[in-house]
């Protein structure tokens, strides 16, 4: 395998693992965090809006949101279109989000702090040169 792919996939796995480690203190997994963050930024969303935004398949989001609901982070309510479920952050989530965001910012700083803004931009540009 091309070393570029190997390196990219490894780093991706490494980042996810580190992120999970960091989020342990808040009793969250990385995929749960991405959904909470999504709702934090966009406000209430349907499941479809979430999975289209995060670019994953619907069943992954169904499962993760169901888990977040049993843990008390979100509520699911029927929308005016009764096919869709609207997901909103719970009071508990809104209360805890600022502290979690702080943790995440520190994590990101530690992870890519040694790259300049130009290098980060360059990295994104090169990523986009790959197919897809």
């Amino acid at each position: 395998m091309n070393p570029l792919f190997h390196a990219l996939l490894q780093k991706s796995r490494y980042i996810t693992n580190c992120l999970n480690e960091t989020l342990k203190q808040h009793n969250l997994y990385s995929s749960q965090w991405t959904i909470l963050f999504c709702l934090h930024v966009h406000g209430p969303m349907t499941l479809t809006q979430i999975w289209k935004y995060l670019n994953v398949e619907a069943p992954s989001i169904t499962r993760a949101v169901a888990r977040l609901e049993t843990l008390g982070w979100v509520q699911r309510v029927d929308g005016p279109d009764k096919r869709e479920k609207i997901v909103t952050l719970s009071a508990m989530a809104k209360e805890k989000l600022p502290a979690i965001e702080k943790t995440i910012l520190a994590f990101e700083e530690e992870m890519i702090g040694s790259m300049t803004i130009e290098e980060q931009q360059q990295f994104m540009n090169l990523l986009q040169k790959m197919k897809g």
Copy 2:
């Protein structure tokens, strides 16, 4: 979440999905291919050598190699140290590997063909600037 992480994780998932799609014609999954490739390059290896090389945890390799054995791609034999199992490619695997490698090379060319060698090198350098 920092867009750099988002982009990197997305691309990583996209590559894996494309690779799986490409490997369907050989009835293989990407993780199975990485193990076969590993054995192709290094010759017979113990499970520990494989998971240390691929930088994943042991149980993932135990499972994947067991599956590869039932599918006839590899054999597991006891080593002189009876704790370890040595994994070798089957005759079927050796016969089929060249065609699979060809498929993979075409896939990689399609995936990163629009990047120059310098850009690829630069990308790797930037990846390594991230922590880990």
